[in-house]
């Protein structure tokens, strides 16, 4: 099947029962996308599929045939993406396991709400669970990222 990941087209032989996350991690070796709960709850496996945040543990790879996928590895260009930068500066993580998913959900959130309120941030990250830091610094990081992106576009 054809699938585009981080701008690169792939023609892969994929098992019918393979999940998208298995193709991303095991076949393409992009291990930045994490498998947390495997039950559609925690959001560690969040990637963008056709620019929309989805949980890659609950999509069959075949359902994503022809789609364009972006993973955490696809964000940084010459330097870190503003959202990555902000999570680093604001210490929006502790163990870091949930961070790739948090960051992909934040990218999606900021596409829809470039200047989000606290409520919009909480709602936008409702599908991502962090079990160590708490969410205060994560919310700070999202606000900082929003400002960085706005400043860069002015």
């Amino acid at each position: 099947m054809q699938i585009k990941v981080n701008g690169q087209s792939h023609d892969l032989a994929v098992q019918d029962n393979a999940l998208l996350i298995e193709v991303i991690r095991d076949q393409l070796q992009l291990t930045g996308t994490h498998n947390g709960c495997d039950t559609t709850q925690c959001g560690c496996c969040t990637v963008l599929m056709n620019e929309t945040a989805v949980k890659s543990c609950t999509i069959l790879a075949k359902q994503a045939e022809g789609a364009s996928i972006q993973t955490i590895e696809g964000l940084a260009k010459d330097q870190l993406h503003p959202v990555q930068q902000a999570f680093s500066e604001e210490h929006g993580l502790q163990c870091g396991y949930c961070t790739p998913g948090m960051i992909m959900s934040t990218v999606y959130l900021l596409q829809r709400h470039p200047d989000p309120t606290d409520e919009q941030i909480k709602e936008g990250l409702a599908g991502n669970i962090c079990r160590c830091t708490g969410y205060v610094n994560i919310i700070k990081a999202v606000k900082s990222a929003a400002k960085k992106i706005q400043d860069a576009t002015i």
Binding site: N17, T40, K55, T58
Partner: protein, 262 residues
């Protein structure tokens, strides 16, 4: 997950053909319930038939009397649709309260109705809004569609194509969310139609969605607290039935006052 063969259907007749020519086949829409159920080994289909690539099954359109939503329309699309927000705001609100952003990006209205989870949101909207469930072979009124715990009037090989919602004068959905799953511990949908026709549907409280007749009467006789007494109330580790009943009464009051104050 067990092994199975994946089929992509490009129209409903080819989907049905694959279904009938194979043993143990299932239709797949957004997969937000089906895939987790398969991971848990609760069901082990040998064939999955993906309906989401069938063209025109994900359109939203407005006719005089009805708002019509295609079966594979995602929850997020319904929540953000200008047509839905302007003609049935309660339905857009309902869709925005399902699960979380990633789940809303994949889950579909047809899948939710066909699954008829007793704590799902859409069944209450469909029942309150006098929906007609349109399938590949007939139209089923929401009054006849939901037949109890995870069961519907659909035949094994029947495919929902679209849902026609009767446009109300006013509509509000209020929900108490189970914080881990996002399902309703209680959800109350009120739809108001001309000539004081009130329809109140409740999810998350009984073994399946139901009309709450006492609340429909109480809506017009304001000030009275409607009784909710059924023999199929849900009681589980998330909430006992008394809590769910109380929440339904609280949510009904909230929804009713929103309607009356707007």
């Amino acid at each position: 997950m067990n092994n199975f063969q994946f089929h992509t259907a490009l129209n409903t007749s080819s989907a049905k053909e694959v279904f009938s020519s194979n043993e143990n086949a299932k239709f797949l829409s957004g997969g937000m319930t089906l895939l987790p159920s398969m991971k848990h080994g609760l069901i082990q289909p040998e064939h999955l038939i993906d309906l989401c690539k069938i063209p025109n099954l994900n359109q939203i359109r407005d006719s005089q009397e009805y708002l019509i939503i295609g079966a594979t329309t995602k929850h997020d699309t319904v929540a953000n649709s200008d047509i839905v927000k302007s003609s049935i705001p309660g339905l857009a609100m309902l869709a925005s309260l399902i699960g979380d952003p990633q789940v809303r990006a994949r889950g579909t209205i047809g899948g939710s109705l066909a699954n008829n989870d007793p704590a799902a949101d859409y069944p209450s909207g469909a029942l309150a809004l006098k929906a007609q469930i349109v399938t590949d072979r007939r139209e089923i009124s929401a009054d006849d569609f939901f037949t109890g715990f995870y069961s519907t009037a659909l035949e094994e090989d029947e495919i929902i194509t679209e849902i026609k919602f009767a446009k109300p004068v006013k509509s509000v959905y209020e929900k108490c969310k189970q914080s881990a799953s996002g399902y309703a511990l209680a959800g109350v949908f009120i739809a108001v139609y001309p000539n004081n026709e009130i329809r109140v549907a409740v999810t998350g409280v009984g073994a399946g969605v139901f009309r709450w007749k006492e609340a429909e009467v109480a809506f017009l006789a304001s000030g009275t607290k409607p009784v909710l007494d059924r023999d199929d109330l849900i009681s589980d580790l998330h909430a006992p039935s008394a809590y769910r009943v109380n929440m339904a009464q609280v949510l009904f009051n909230k929804a009713a006052s929103k309607i009356k104050n707007n």
